[in-house]
């Protein structure tokens, strides 16, 4: 008897405009919300003190505003899509957009060894590096002391044992001071002698104090000695140049060096904007342009061969293990994953030693005497082989996954229709596999195109022909340019950044073209 009214009620409810359902508060929602807020608050607390100490107020404002915005976003019930988008966007900016922008902006500078800091730092380094001890001046033993609240040096001349007090005004004799055996002043009337820990606590002041003398300045050298020295090179702001040692070096803002009339520069330089010259160097440097085509060609071959061989082997093994009559697949799978699970860094080094001509396992095993890494063809074969061993488990894994997503009925139907196993694979399984795997193959290509470790840790780019020591037979663009940017002239970050921009462009173009072709292929099979 009670059921009809119940129905009525339900219908009646349904007839009204449905009340906005109050979103259920699940544990996951609560936890994730707390997590986001906690991370935001932690970042704020972590980043704030150093920013305040550095007095970078704009950064402080941005930080506080960003934290407040995140807190507001996750405390309000509105903006649901933004709640999901913000974390991803933040990570995208932090780990993708920022590094790319930073790399590109570095490419326009001469940032690198000799040009790491700003001009002020270079001037300081030049001046302090040029301080020479005044000829014939004594090696004072130093005792830090206080006169009132001000720091003074009590200086003892080791030859005469005479004690003088030095402060920013100059030297004054101190009569009646008591000197210990080590040359330290024990007591001096009118001064409070500081103990070692007390002096150490005022380390900054000790470094900062310089006592003027007729011949130069007396500076502390540690906490127990002081010497009279004179900077032989001095920066003059009026001419924007460094003078001394009978020469003059004028600041050249174009190359970030102080240069003299003969075109020689002082060692310490600073970072300047060099415009497009890094890019111009990549294009015009004869050592790059002469070998570019050859290196690029081998680079493409290496990447294609790596992807092709790893995919072929990985897929073959996956197909074999996918066969319904296969037994013990778990054990096989574990064994096959092993190369993938081992640190590739160590494995590459082990492989390199296995290819050693006289001591390597491979020559000993096969009883041959091949100088694997010493000839272009065998070295190329060897690096592809090593990369195959390292890379096929990945292909095996992804193919296994993709195979399990292909219904067995399809292949069964094909075999009932009279297709041979090869045709069944060729016309049914492989196309379906490729739909799923092509994006992975493309990313694998891009990865191997820049596979620095696979080359740097095995052949190091070699063998190098005697007549061109800069480019080896197995050099990829990335190993070759790394050597140019970091191997020979110290670290040249600006130049390296310009090269990365070029390599990025190459990989991006290749990937874009292949993705476009894949889309067409997917339209056919999907």
């Amino acid at each position: 008897m009670s059921s009809p009214p119940a129905v009525d009620v339900r219908e009646a409810r349904g007839a009204h405009a449905p009340p906005k359902p109050r979103r259920e508060i699940t544990t996951a929602f609560l936890v994730s919300r707390i997590a986001v807020l906690a991370v935001a608050a932690a970042l704020l607390l972590y980043a704030l003190p150093p920013l305040v100490a550095a007095r970078s107020w704009p950064a402080v404002v941005i930080l506080c505003a960003a934290t407040a915005a995140i807190a507001y976003l996750y405390l309000t019930r509105r903006f649901v899509p933004a709640k999901y988008l913000i974390p991803g966007t933040v990570f995208l900016i932090a780990f993708q957009v920022f590094p790319v922008l930073y790399t590109v902006s570095t490419a326009f500078t001469n940032f690198g060894d000799g040009h790491r800091g700003d001009k002020r730092a270079a001037i300081t380094a030049i001046e302090s590096g040029s301080v020479r001890q005044a000829p014939g001046s004594p090696e004072y033993s130093l005792t830090a002391a206080l006169k009132g609240e001000a720091l003074v040096f009590l200086l003892v001349d080791p030859a005469t044992k005479q004690v003088q007090a030095g402060d920013a005004a100059g030297l004054t004799p101190v009569p009646g001071a008591q000197v210990g055996v080590t040359g330290k002043v024990l007591r001096a009337p009118g001064y409070t002698v500081l103990t070692a820990p007390q002096a150490a606590a005022r380390g900054q002041d000790v470094t900062a104090l310089s006592v003027p003398t007729p011949g130069g300045l007396i500076k502390a050298n540690g906490l127990s000695r002081a010497v009279e020295g004179r900077a032989t090179l001095v920066y003059d702001a009026r001419c924007d140049c460094v003078q001394g040692e009978g020469d003059r070096w004028a600041a050249d803002e174009g190359q970030g060096y102080f240069v003299n009339a003969k075109g020689q520069h002082l060692a310490q330089g600073w970072q300047v904007n060099v415009g497009l010259s890094n890019f111009a160097r990549v294009v015009t440097d004869p050592t790059i342009s002469r070998y570019f085509a050859g290196v690029f060609g081998w680079n493409v071959v290496f990447a294609l061969a790596s992807v092709g061989t790893t995919f072929a082997l990985g897929m073959a093994v996956a197909l074999a293990l996918h066969h319904p009559r296969m037994r013990g697949t778990k054990a096989y799978r574990i064994a096959l994953i092993l190369p993938y699970a081992m640190p590739s860094f160590a494995m590459l080094l082990v492989w390199r030693d296995m290819f050693n001509r006289d001591f390597g396992l491979i020559n000993q095993l096969f009883g041959v005497d091949v100088d694997w890494m010493g000839q272009p063809s065998t070295a190329r074969f060897a690096v592809v082989l090593v990369n195959l061993w390292l890379g096929f488990p990945y292909m095996f894994l992804v193919t296994t996954g993709a195979l399990q997503a292909i219904p067995r009925e399809l292949t069964e139907a094909a075999s009932i229709d009279g297709a041979t196993p090869w045709n069944g694979f060729r016309r049914v399984t492989l196309p379906l596999l490729l739909v799923a795997l092509t994006p992975l193959l493309i990313s694998s290509f891009a990865f191997n195109f820049n596979n620095f470790n696979a080359i740097a840790l095995t052949s190091e780019g070699g063998p190098f022909p005697a007549e061109s020591p800069q480019v080896g037979a197995t050099d990829l663009l990335i190993t070759y340019t790394f050597r140019l940017a970091f191997g020979t002239g110290g670290a040249q970050f600006g130049f390296a950044a310009a090269i990365s921009v070029f390599i990025f462009a190459i990989v991006a173009i290749i990937s874009a073209v292949t993705f476009r072709r894949t889309r067409r292929q997917e339209e056919v099979y999907a």
Binding site: I25, L30, V52, P197, G203, T488
Partner: protein, 424 residues
């Protein structure tokens, strides 16, 4: 309801954080401004000396660093840096997160100076006199001392006295004896000297110098002159020719299959009678139970002296350190004392730079003195930044001639490669 409570709690945190935004501004300066001269305040202030060293040296340094810390009322942290030490130091220094003191090889000096990363170290004449001349020469750059040396290392000829009882007078004698031993089946290799596919400029340099080759001309002050690269000079071509004669197509004494990974273990395993290596090899050699002797690398008959490169491990004062007075005190006045040198030797047996420490160590371990003798006439590794452009082309030219390539072509190509990278 619960979510509301959570929101309130979070808002409170935020409010607190916001007040921290404004509140900490006056708080920070006052913390650094008042410097009460007491040890307790020092600790609270973060009066801290930070030393960076490689893993081998951290353990040996720690007790001395701590002793220095207690004497001066500061805390001392010795931090281990295991990879790319120089670049890590330069980058960190630039960022303001570097150490006060860096431990490293003297040939870093040129690059660290051009980056303004280290300061001169002022040693007294007495302190300078306590070191052998070559150590002081190594840490002097552009007329200025930039580091306090503590260990000197160079390579020497280490021979298996059971297989080769007498020290060879010339390189030819050594190769002859090595070949005879190989033919008799007593050893597998004539000589254990790493070449590898990319060459090893450091290890082959004494033989290259013995053949008359040189890397740089010298400036008026006797320093290597980066403007005069001499790798392609006729003398150097002749030296490369000698390396070719010793190589795979010649005597078979130099081989690309002998690498940094296997050359010491081969000698320790008795596979060769002669090893050219440094003090770092002695641990393995002793473990292998080989009876050995250490002598200078011999020269060719009528050759030039076989001068090895000499590397001087040193302490540097970082110019961007936060505690420079203490750092100077530690480097100039504390680590130049012989107990520190001896402890570092015990931790990692590289001959101490201090003459007095070397004598004391040498009494119980003659190897240190023998290595020192072998390097007496050595050439301090060039500290000029331009040297970085030389290592690789030199090594590749070496590997090329060892494999039988043309000496003149290899030398010319190396010279060209170095010139072009120095131009940029």
């Amino acid at each position: 309801m619960r979510t509301r409570a959570l929101g309130v709690a979070a808002l409170t945190t935020l409010a607190l954080a916001a007040t921290a935004c404004g509140g900490s501004q006056p708080a920070t300066p006052s913390a650094t401004g008042s410097a009460a001269p007491s040890a307790a305040a020092t600790q609270a202030q973060g009066g801290k000396l930070v030393i960076w060293a490689d893993p081998n040296r951290v353990k040996a340094l720690k007790p001395f660093a701590e002793q220095f810390g207690t004497e001066n009322g500061v805390s001392v942290e010795v931090k281990e840096i295991s990879k790319d030490n120089q670049q890590t130091f330069l980058t960190a220094s630039q960022q303001g997160s570097g150490p006060d003191i860096m431990v490293g090889a003297h040939d870093w000096i040129g690059n660290m100076v051009q980056n303004g990363a280290i300061e001169p170290v002022n040693l007294t004449d007495a302190q300078k006199a306590a070191f052998p001349e070559i150590a002081m020469k190594a840490v002097t750059f552009d007329g200025q001392v930039y580091g306090a040396p503590y260990a000197v290392e160079n390579i020497a000829l280490i021979r298996n006295t059971k297989l080769a009882p007498d020290a060879p007078a010339t390189l030819e004698d050594m190769v002859k004896q090595g070949k005879a031993l190989k033919e008799a089946g007593k050893v597998k290799e004539v000589l254990c000297l790493p070449v590898a596919q990319k060459g090893d400029a450091f290890h082959v340099y004494p033989i290259f110098a013995a053949g008359g080759g040189s890397l740089f001309g010298t400036t008026a002050s006797g320093d290597p002159d980066p403007k005069k690269v001499l790798l392609g000079s006729p003398e150097s071509v002749k030296a490369f020719g000698k390396l070719k004669d010793l190589g795979e197509k010649g005597d078979g004494a130099l081989k690309t299959s002998i690498t940094n990974e296997n050359y010491i273990s081969s000698f320790a395993g008795g596979k060769c009678a002669y090893l050219i290596s440094g003090p770092w090899a002695m641990g393995d050699v002793k473990k292998g139970g080989i009876s050995y002797d250490i002598t200078p690398v011999p020269s060719f008959k009528d050759g030039k002296p076989a001068t090895p490169f000499v590397g001087v491990q040193s302490f540097f004062v970082a110019s961007k350190g936060k505690n420079k007075a203490l750092a100077q005190e530690f480097v100039a006045n504390y680590v130049t004392n012989k107990d520190v040198a001896k402890a570092l030797y015990a931790a990692d047996p590289r001959p101490p730079a201090l003459t007095e420490a070397l004598q004391e160590v040498g009494a119980s371990d003659p190897d240190a003195g023998k290595f020192m003798d072998a390097g007496k006439n050595g050439m301090p590794m060039p500290a000029i930044p331009e040297m970085q452009a030389v290592w690789e082309p030199f090594g590749i030219a070496e590997a090329a001639v060892v494999k039988g390539g043309d000496a003149a072509k290899a030398a010319e190509a190396a010279q060209k490669a170095i010139d072009s990278s120095l131009k940029n």
